[in-house]
């Protein structure tokens, strides 16, 4: 349900003229207009495991509400008692407080009875404040803890959900977006908890308790204050209407500016090479201009809110003063009660103000929450099938593709058009072909990153869907073209978090001739690699990737040969390591160097999803077809 752009959004776009900002605003606008109750309900359910703490915080909030109404009450009562006024009718807390005061007063004989009563009330007031101090700290802390706990649970859920998604999901969603969902959006929800839930609950209780106390003191004065509440809410709603589009625009412009800055810093070389500087300067100027315009509107709305509320509370106070004069003169209430009410007038608008001022935060959090639950609502595309045999493991490593047809989800173009081949245990098969021929698709189907549309992929005679995903993938180790190095120790990078002894890990490292990688660091296996392993050369990354695969000791090895340029010294090592790695395993190689697969038991030449030729090097050369042509084209 896309709505038309608001005036301020149009204004900002007019100034910025930025297609990305337009897209961002469009995306933002899809969000629902009203607070989504289902969303809140889902959040509340996260409180389930923390029921005890949650109820404790509700109880403490209630206690706090009472404590917050007491000081003004005590001041008024003390005033009446000090003056010895008689017109004060017995009220809710009077008896209890008087009782305590009289009891305490007997312990001292300083001053007149009147001054003694006042001193005692002062003492009571102070102790109420102290109790409130403790309870407020406790409540605030517990509520914060509860919020953080929920956020932690949610964060772990989101991470687990995303990391269980199929590759298709990661292709559709850029990493940056997914990272934002997992950390920042979830974090924003914590504010929904502490600011909206917790504070809202506390405020609501306070208003309820206050209303009850006021009504019991004097119905008419109470009515004045209670009637001012809807007016305050009205101001708040007007602010909301006024501020919402501006706030949304402001935050969109702001994140666009951050994005602009980040990308132009990264792309500075291109900017300079292609003399984009004047244009970029103009773009940035327009963006800051649009930012300022949206900020102006936000401040304007803000400048309306606070005075609006103050005028109403001022009017309410004035009304209490006027009406109070009448009622005190008529002997209906005491001066003390009037003073209590005056205090209350300055309190009653605080909850409404809180809620309104936090409105922006709450709105952001709600939007973030929607995005987070969207992630959780996206079903996992790849999971164990019903027919899975959990005991089944890859044992020998026989591979068979039968009439495999496949197109990527969301597309119609068939990337594999009926592929048939077989690899016996321990053999090596090479895949050759141009980009788009289907080489990568074949290896992705083997590890079941995707499921075939028709036909069958089987290992050791069992359909890959009969294996549990974890058992299947433990048996088929993938050595990709681009090696990912995680920030962490050498050990973690090789074990990927599984438990292996140092001896086992070192054994693998030696087997792939990478020992100097470990030995050159003092901390050895505990050496921590930089973010992305920036200090490693392309060859060293390859070796780490080999060690990873070797450690798993898989019956099947899938090797997507690296194209990265590697110096000759490392190259020799890599060849040695490769020999060690492939020995005795079924190996599927996507070859970029024919030397790697010249000795392969079989070579598949692929084109546009079909097998063009099949056979070993000698057979294919003898056949004098595509392979031979390719081979000769470059030896000629």
């Amino acid at each position: 349900m896309t709505k038309p752009l608001s005036k301020i959004e149009r204004e900002a776009l007019e100034i910025a003229k930025d297609p990305v900002l337009r897209k961002m605003l469009d995306e933002e606008r899809v969000e629902s207009e009203e607070v989504d109750l289902a969303l809140l309900w889902r959040l509340v359910r996260y409180l389930g495991p923390h029921k005890g703490v949650a109820s404790l915080s509700v109880f403490l909030s209630l206690v706090e509400s009472f404590l917050m109404t007491l000081p003004a009450y005590i001041v008024g009562l003390a005033l009446d008692r000090a003056q010895g006024g008689t017109q004060r009718k017995a009220q809710v807390f009077d008896q209890a407080l008087d009782g305590v005061a009289n009891k305490l007063a007997t312990y001292s004989d300083l001053g007149t009875p009147q001054t003694r009563v006042i001193a005692v009330f002062g003492l009571i007031l102070l102790s109420v404040w102290c109790v409130r101090w403790v309870s407020a700290m406790g409540t605030t802390f517990i509520v914060q803890k509860l919020g953080q706990q929920v956020v932690h649970d949610l964060r772990v859920d989101v991470f687990n959900h995303i990391s269980g998604q199929g590759l298709e999901y990661f292709h559709k969603n850029p990493v940056g977006r997914l990272v934002n969902r997992t950390t920042f959006d979830v974090q924003a929800l914590s504010e929904l908890f502490s600011d909206a839930f917790a504070q809202g609950m506390r405020d609501l209780m306070f208003v309820t308790v206050l209303t009850a106390v006021m009504l019991s003191l004097d119905v008419q004065l109470a009515a004045v204050l209670i009637l001012s509440l809807p007016l305050l809410v009205l101001v708040a709603l007007a602010y909301r209407k006024l501020a919402r589009p501006s706030l949304r625009t402001m935050s969109a412009v702001q994140s666009r500016m951050n994005g602009w800055l980040a990308e132009n810093i990264s792309g500075m070389r291109e900017n300079q090479l292609y003399r984009r500087e004047p244009r970029r300067r103009a773009e940035w100027f327009s963006l800051t201009e649009a930012h300022q315009t949206s900020i102006y509107r936000v401040i304007q709305a803000w400048g309306f809110l606070r005075p609006g509320m103050m005028i109403i509370s001022g009017a309410a106070t004035a009304a209490v003063l006027g009406l109070g004069y009448e009622r005190v003169s008529a002997g209906l209430i005491s001066v003390g009660v009037l003073v209590t009410f005056l205090e209350y007038t300055s309190r009653i608008w605080v909850p409404v103000r809180n809620l309104t001022e936090k409105f922006n935060v709450i709105q952001t959090a709600l939007t973030a929450g929607e995005r987070v639950f969207d992630v959780l609502n996206t079903p996992t595309t790849m999971s164990d099938t019903a027919s899975v045999d959990t005991k089944l493991i890859v044992h020998q490593g026989a591979i068979r593709f039968q009439d495999v047809v496949f197109h990527y989800p969301g597309t119609t173009e068939e990337v594999l058009k009926g592929i048939n081949f077989e690899v016996r245990p321990g053999e090596m098969i090479g895949l050759v072909g141009d980009t788009g021929a289907g080489k990568s698709t074949i290896i992705q189907l083997l590890s079941r990153f995707y499921d075939v549309n028709s036909g069958r992929v089987s290992i050791d005679g069992h359909d890959v869907r009969d294996y549990s995903l974890s058992k299947l993938r433990s048996g088929v180790a993938l050595v990709p073209q681009d090696v990912v190095i995680f920030a962490g120790t050498v050990r973690e990078n090789i074990t990927l978090g599984a438990d292996y002894s140092d001896d086992e890990v070192m054994g693998c490292i030696r087997a792939v001739c990478a020992e100097d990688l470990v030995e050159r660091f003092e901390e050895g296996l505990d050496h921590v690699f930089d973010e992305g392993g920036r200090t490693l050369s392309a060859g060293e990354r390859q070796l780490i990737s080999f060690a990873r695969a070797l450690l798993v000791n898989p019956p099947i090895l899938v090797l997507d040969e690296a194209t990265a340029s590697i110096d000759t010294r490392t190259e020799t090592k890599i060849q040695q390591a490769l020999a060690e790695l492939t020995a005795g395993r079924t190996t599927v190689v996507i070859a970029h160097r024919l030397s790697t697969i010249r000795d392969a038991d079989s070579i598949l030449v692929l084109r546009k999803g079909a097998i063009l030729e099949e056979g070993n090097h000698d057979i294919l050369m003898a056949k004098n077809g595509e392979y031979a042509a390719l081979y000769r084209a470059h030896t000629a």
């Binding site: 001041v75 003056q83 687990n160 984009r276 300067r281 401040i299 003063l321 009037l338 005056l342 030397s595």
Partner: protein, 613 residues
């Protein structure tokens, strides 16, 4: 670094907006004055009420009496109306106060942002080599925000504190100086507590932010490496690891929550102590007749105005501390000299003749090499390079990784500054030419090009100064670079957004886009820096065929470590370890039997350069 300089710098920032700030502060004064006087009329109303009850004379609150007013002159209606009018003023003047301080402070923020971007756009690659983009980002976002906070809320709250406290104290003292002293007892505590807690809060907040960064990086890595994690069935380990990170973040947040939970309640308690003291001593005063009832009530209301500014004072002090630190970082960036000096000469219609004369070059300062991902020392990267490319001819630059090929071509467009008297275009030293002019005529397509998050069309037509380029022209460029079919396959074609909000291109597609970009610039000299390394063989073949058309009438430099890419060049220079070790035509180099011939042999034998990929 010293305070005087900072004050000077800050007032320099505010100066262009001083008119508005002045009005804002004036409005703030009116707000404060009304705020402080209003409770006196509450007090008056209470006195009138009390008098009407007891039938006695109403007492006049001291400050009103001081200006010659008498309670008897007021009816209750007058007192209430005046009270409301004062409240109205206090409310209404808040609007100009906000608009005249907050708005200009943001404007100053925008000015800083613009100055910053101007500087960044002008800085050299050599300067960027020594900087982390994350640090630059944080200056451009967090630091500017901190300065803005200092100039907006910081100044407003500081002024507010000063005015309100002075006014309240004047009124309180005039009501009763003894009671004032008593009410002020908790103030030093408030000040101390605010200071300590806001410090602790800031530290805790920083720690949480820092940890958030660590956790975010952890998540990013897991998602970026998902193929490995899933491919090795290590999801469970990874999840456990993330749960630990999340738990640690939770703990840090909890520590911060502890500080935050103490903050407001403790300050409230201080106000409570003040109220209690006023109740006891003021109450006794009322009983004994030394304090009027009205004064007592006014006191109760006015001391509330003290706690707010006291909290504000601590807050604005920390805003100023952070703002100053941020301003230093911003200024450091703004004051950094630009090491490249723009020339003055321009070439109107150059023929594109290139000459390099005994060029020796070393990078200044540490630098992370993009190709070998190793930090390089400061030894010369290029030694004694000389060559000449006549107009309309092509030069192949051939050599292994790390031989200085990329450095050499970077010097031709002055991405890095060559020494004087070494690099000439049409006989003019590139250092004498205007950068703008040089880069119009000499265009480099880098190996790893950057894509901006805008449409494919705009990415291709990057070099054109007009925002809109005919779509037909863009298509033609894409066809030349064999990118058209790929783009046509996108649902939104040339309007497809790239980058974070859009689609990702493969390495080969990026390289082809880089070529299209370079052709689009229509330069006299075109340099392709290893632009085909990630392109598959068939496409490479086709692009190389198009290259003749692309280069027709232009001077071309083709950098590669693949023989096939350079074999058709008029001349090829072979770079090894920063020196030219051989030169000549493809045939001549093959015949010479050096490194070139050896690699040519290997590449044809192995077909090693991804020809079959």
């Amino acid at each position: 670094m010293n305070l005087k300089d900072d004050i000077h710098r800050i007032s320099g920032l505010v100066r262009p907006e001083r008119g508005r700030y002045g009005l804002g502060l004036l409005a703030l004064f009116v707000v404060n004055l009304s705020d402080v006087i209003a409770p006196l009329f509450t007090a008056l109303a209470i006195e009138l009420t009390e008098a009407s009850l007891t039938g006695g004379d109403a007492l006049t609150p001291t400050p009103l009496a001081l200006v010659g007013l008498k309670a008897a002159d007021f009816s209750i209606v007058a007192a209430v109306v005046i009270y409301f009018v004062l409240q109205l003023m206090a409310s209404l003047f808040r609007y100009p106060m906000l608009m005249k301080i907050a708005v200009p402070s943001h404007q100053i923020g925008q000015n800083l942002r613009r100055a910053l971007a101007n500087k960044l756009l002008g800085q050299t690659q050599a300067w960027y080599d020594g900087k982390k983009s994350g640090d630059l980002m944080s200056i451009g976002t967090a630091d500017i925000m901190a300065v803005r906070m200092m100039l907006g809320p910081g100044i407003m709250v500081a002024a507010d504190t000063f005015m309100l406290v002075s006014l309240v104290l004047i009124v309180l003292v005039s009501l009763s100086w003894k009671l004032t002293l008593i009410a002020l007892i908790p103030v030093p505590f408030i000040y101390a507590i605010t200071n300590r807690l806001s410090h602790a809060e800031f530290k805790g907040f920083e720690r949480v932010q820092e940890d958030l960064g660590v956790m975010t990086e952890r998540v990013r890595e897991s998602y970026a490496g998902i193929r490995i994690i899933q491919g090795y069935a290590r999801e469970e380990h990874d999840r456990k690891r993330f749960a630990d990170y999340s738990q640690r973040h939770f703990d840090k947040n909890l520590k911060l929550a502890r500080v935050r939970a103490a903050f407001d309640p403790t300050l409230d308690l201080m106000l409570g102590v003040s109220t209690s003291l006023v109740l006891v001593f003021g109450g006794i005063g009322v009983v004994q007749g030394s304090v009027t009832l009205g004064s007592f009530v006014a006191f109760l209301f006015l001391i509330r105005y003290l706690s707010g500014p006291m909290i504000g004072l601590g807050w604005s002090i920390s805003l100023f501390q952070r703002g100053r630190a941020s301003l230093h970082r911003i200024d450091e960036l703004l004051d950094a000299p630009i090491s490249i000096e723009d020339g003055t000469k321009t070439l109107e219609s150059p023929v594109g003749q290139i000459e390099v004369r005994s060029l020796t070059f070393a990078y200044q300062g540490p630098r992370v090499d993009e190709e070998t991902t190793e930090t390089r020392g400061n030894g010369p990267v290029l030694s004694d390079i000389s060559f000449q490319v006549e107009s309309g001819k092509t030069l192949g630059v051939f050599g292994p990784v790390g031989s200085g090929k990329t450095t050499l071509v970077s010097l031709l467009t002055r991405l890095y500054d060559p020494p004087k008297g070494c690099v000439f275009i049409d006989g003019e030293d590139v250092r004498d030419l205007k950068l703008e002019n040089l880069r119009t005529h000499v265009v480099l397509a880098p190996q790893e090009t950057f894509l901006f998050s805008t449409t494919v069309e705009r990415n291709i037509s990057l070099s054109n100064h007009e925002a809109e380029v005919e779509i037909g022209r863009v298509e033609e460029l894409a066809r030349l670079a064999h990118l058209h079919n790929d783009v046509a396959a996108f649902p939104e074609g040339y309007s497809t957004l790239l980058g974070e909000k859009g689609v990702n291109l493969s390495g080969g597609q990026r390289q082809r886009l880089a070529i299209a970009r370079a052709i689009g610039a229509n330069p006299r000299v075109i340099i392709l820096d290893d632009c085909l390394s990630a392109v598959d063989a068939t496409t490479e073949e086709k692009i190389l065929e198009n290259l003749r058309e692309i280069l027709s009438g232009r001077t071309g430099i083709i950098v590669s470590h693949r023989v096939r890419a350079v074999e058709k060049c008029d001349e090829i220079i072979v770079l090894e370890g920063g020196r030219i070790t051989a030169r000549g035509s493809h045939e001549a180099l093959l015949a010479a039997g050096g490194y070139y011939a050896q690699i040519a042999d290997e590449q044809t034998r192995d077909d090693s350069s991804g020809a079959l990929s």
